[in-house]
């Protein structure tokens, strides 16, 4: 999908107008951002907004998130384990200390694999 985020009052207003007028090409509107259908018409609307408002409009392309493809098992397991912890007040750092779960720092420094396609970075 196309994620369109606006950064000015005028751009936000235009986005709302597009969302109102073209419900069929808008998957979800979230305040001053919206997810457009990944169709040529969705792209047309996103490009119109960018042509009108310049860098007050950010357009990104989202891709489905498959944690089994993109995320190491240790991270998935850590998330599940932390959310089913017995003491809700324990911060993750304390929870992970002395276990096999990855540290916050280690995860923060490890980027997810991004398939390189058509210049997207």
């Amino acid at each position: 999908m196309l994620l369109v985020i606006t950064y000015s009052r005028a751009a936000r207003e235009s986005l709302r107008n597009v969302c109102r007028a073209h419900e069929e090409s808008v998957r979800r509107q979230l305040g001053r951002a919206a997810l457009f259908e990944p169709t040529e018409f969705g792209a047309f609307q996103a490009l119109r907004l960018r042509a009108k408002h310049g860098d007050a409009v950010q357009v990104e392309r989202t891709r489905p998130f498959n944690e089994f493809a993109a995320v190491p098992a240790a991270v998935r397991e850590a998330a599940a384990a932390y959310e089913s912890r017995e003491q809700p007040a324990v911060p993750y750092a304390a929870f992970a200390a002395g276990t096999a779960h990855p540290s916050k720092e280690k995860m923060r420094d490890a980027a997810l694999e991004v398939p390189e396609r058509g210049g997207e970075i």
């Binding site: 950064y7 936000r12 860098d55 007050a56 970075i121």
Partner: protein
Amino acid sequence: MRPITVEIDGTVRRGRVVSLPPDVSPGTVLEAIRGGDTGRLTVDCEQPRPVHDHVGHIHGGMGIRTRTALARAARSRDLTTEYDAEIERLDAEIAACEAELADHESGDCTPSRRSLAEQGTGTELREAVAAARGRLRACRDHGTDTDDAVERLEAAISELAEQETSAAAARERLAQARERNRRRREIRDRRLRLEDRRANLEREARATLVDRLRDEFAAAVDAVPGTPTPAEPFDAADLPAALAVGHVAALAAPVVLDCELFDSPQTASEWLGAPIVNV
């Protein structure tokens, strides 16, 4: 009330009420009042204040946003609200954001995006290298002359290397442009929050000002000659509403008037408390 001086086609007219020939459009007069260059017409008068945008031209077919106009009428009388200081502070912060934005060059990602898209992923060139390598191996296996195959392989390798270098450079430029834009968007984010807050306060201030003038405005609507009094003053038709706003406002700049409700332009001028240009 200071009289105005109107010079049209070399003729000077002066007074609190000035009538103009019918071929002068109200738009031209308004432009001249607001200091624009109209060629044939100049108006020497006080500077119009924002309320003038609403009641500077009063005529039968006009429209008016009554509450906004009334709030500006209040401002023309220098009425203030408890929100003004905060609005002013926000204005200063918004101006600071503007200045900061001007200092941060925007990153134009378009050229890098285009060049990356046009270069593709290099797959074809990699395949060409593999094919050239295959041909060279075949030449060696068959003991035939390898010069040509070597040359082709070298050419393919050098083309691929060139593409990879230029793609890496484009990716780097794109990353830098995106980073610049990210910083600009942080500033824009801040500005948007300030502007939203300012808009809320502006609404509050406007409501306060309208409230303060509500009774005066109602009395003025009631007193507009030749029109029925509505049950709710804000339901008044556009023309009487505009006249009432003009009556309540402190108008210094002349009003361009095209309406028959008053006995004379002089009466209208007294009612509005402003010089009149009659069209």
